[in-house]
């Protein structure tokens, strides 16, 4: 297993982690990487549930067209 490379700045640090994790995914079983990954994604899904915006507010934030019949 390759070690996580040291980095000089945030962008490099992020990319090094992408390489490290992709290598882990490639060299481990779906079950091994999947259990960690699923816990992480599920925790993000849980926090999305408390997202307070209405459809109109969300579309406004995304700068997208809001239909006259959009749900309130």
């Amino acid at each position: 297993m390759e070690k996580l490379k040291p980095s000089l700045n945030n962008a490099e640090s992020r990319m090094n982690f992408v390489d490290y994790w992709a290598n882990f995914v490639r060299t481990h079983s779906d079950k091994e990487w999947g259990e960690q990954h699923t816990r992480f994604i599920n925790s993000l899904m849980l926090s999305a549930k408390s997202y307070p915006f209405t459809p109109r507010k969300y579309l406004e934030m995304k700068k997208e067209k809001i239909g006259s019949t959009a749900p309130k």
Binding site: R14, V18, A22, R26, W33, I41, M45, Y58, T69
Partner: protein
Amino acid sequence: MQFINERKIKLEKPLSDLDKLVIRFTNLIKEHTDYVIISGYVAILLGRSRGTEDVDLFIKPIPKPLFLTLYHHLKTSGFWCLNAESDDEVYSYLEEGLALRFALQGETIPNFELKIAKKRIDQEVFEDFIEVETKEGILNISSLERQIAFKRYYLKSEKDLEDARHIEESFKDHIITEKIKKYKRLLELTHGKT
């Protein structure tokens, strides 16, 4: 992850709540038309460790009556359209080439950004998409080389460059570099020099 053949991947990871929601949504879509998932969720499904607020997918051009049948099916199955509610207004988005966002009724995130593939380069995703066989169903995703090229040479944000790198590194034994170059040239022809 295991390539069964060049158009099929077997994925035996435990599915996340997001994966299950995507399977639920696409199972409804595929009863009415073909679809292909593109962009960020492709990388996430294949192990990229990041969140997303939306899942992008293309559907093939579809006549209004058929689309409305699909729309009503989504509504009766617990999804709402964030952009509009009336049949005519919802379909007008697609006619204008705009995306529609669908989420679980009462929620906004995560949502499905559904768009009709109108341009030639978008329609081509249906020619070489990959089926990902999961424990609870099959998902159609854009070809890996197409995803890498699109993210690296067209979208180009930090997040997109990282997604491209994740796919490339995770599947380094399967990625065909010549295909990435071909899609890069297609993007240049369609959108100008990348």
